[in-house]
Assembly symmetry: C2
Homo-oligomer: 249 residues x 2
């Protein structure tokens, strides 16, 4: 993990860009750490630079609750080399949507499965590197989309003890078997009026999760319009599970 | 409104039983009121005496956030005269469930519509009486089931400006038209693994609500097992909408 920049934001957050091998990433931490803080992985659909304002807002909200937050670029996104197979699958997906056809599971499979297979070990390596830094300790939470990546990590990575999943992105049907194997607490956010979202798939997936503690919170506001109170509830979920505290009401 | 008993609970809550005409009810208030508090109606499926422990717990949680809370007995429940028609409809409902058949809408209609028609004005009269007391002011929130009663009150009673609805009880299909007319903020709680619950009906109903701010929160824990964090989120909903405050995180 090679740090390439550092700046102090006005709310007491230190933001550091880094590379992990060829993978660019950003780490956000409190500027003073008196006792080790848990780590939250900030997931996204790819394109860290393009999504920076939203990612940074989520990360700063997370750090304000006493966590470190980290994100890395996804395979094939941003400045990372494109995957011709993924580009073809994405084109087929767009064509199906434009034609008003249902998106065939084999397209989702071609788009998502190789992405998750490649990304999951990269996020695990990121956990390794960040937990080696002073002042940052486990447990680890995963927050966001791609929901399929969150599912994979929740199954294979024992340091992740709670996951906040943004429903809405595509999940291959084959991954429902993985969803059933999840046992950690889940908080699932669904934007009910997101037109580009397969709501029934999100509900089926929520039903499939094996966790005994799972919450689905559906809100209005469109694809990017998660209300502030839903974000607050989600932060409380991490405080509860990663810090073992009942947040002050 | 005739008070018939008063006792001070150990958490600074005053509990007073009353009658409003022939209708028994309970009012919970903070023992000291420095400025007027908003009112929350504590809804339930009928049987105040039987449900007292759960109703009192919800009311005390509500009063702790700076509200007054009130409930009254439903028509045909507790010590109130039974309705032969409602008893027949209830028997038909149980027979359908026992036979493993879907519950016909006409049974739901016979059970719920007369109940709501009779109960709604009684709850409105209760609002009139409670808001006449010193230290209790609007706005008013409705909390709980019978969800059909919450829907009716949310449509007809302008003093109710926010409603926390417990999904799960039966709603006649004809009431979906009323659900579409609701515009106040809604927070809907659904126990996902409640076997006795028509989950699809709850989701369809949530979809139908006309409100631009509506949240569905689905949790595990069975019919009566709403988790404490979901109850906390629900209280924050009332703080936000009846007191105009953003609860401390």
């Amino acid at each position: 993990m090679q740090f390439i920049s550092e700046r102090r934001l006005d709310d007491g957050v230190v933001e550091r860009e880094f590379t992990l091998g060829d993978i660019p990433g950003i780490l956000w931490t409190p500027d003073t750490i008196t006792e080790p803080v848990p780590l939250v992985l900030i997931g996204h659909p790819g394109g860290v630079r393009r999504m920076y304002p939203r990612l940074a807002a989520r990360a700063r909200h997370t750090v304000a609750e006493g966590f470190a937050a980290v994100t890395i670029e996804l395979p094939g996104s941003g400045d990372r080399p494109a995957s011709p197979d993924a580009e073809r699958a994405r084109a087929d997906l767009r064509a199906a949507i434009t034609a008003g056809e249902p998106v065939a599971d084999e397209i989702v499979e071609r788009l998502i499965t190789p992405l998750v297979d490649k990304a999951a070990p990269e996020w695990q390596a990121t956990i390794d590197a960040v937990l080696d830094l002073p002042g940052i300790t486990g447990p680890v939470g995963y927050s966001g989309g791609v929901i399929a990546l969150g599912i994979r990590l929740a199954v294979i990575e024992p340091r992740i003890t709670a996951a906040l999943l943004f429903a809405g992105s595509y999940v291959p049907r084959a991954m429902f078997a993985e969803a059933r194997r999840i046992t950690i607490p889940l908080h699932v956010l669904l934007q009910w009026d997101d037109e580009g979202n397969d709501r029934q798939l999100a509900l089926d997936l929520f039903d499939a999760f094996g966790s005994t503690e799972k919450t689905l919170q559906a809100n209005m506001g469109g694809h990017t319009g998660v209300p502030w109170f839903a974000a607050d509830n989600a932060q409380r979920f991490f405080v509860r599970h990663l810090k073992g505290e009942r947040a002050a009401v």
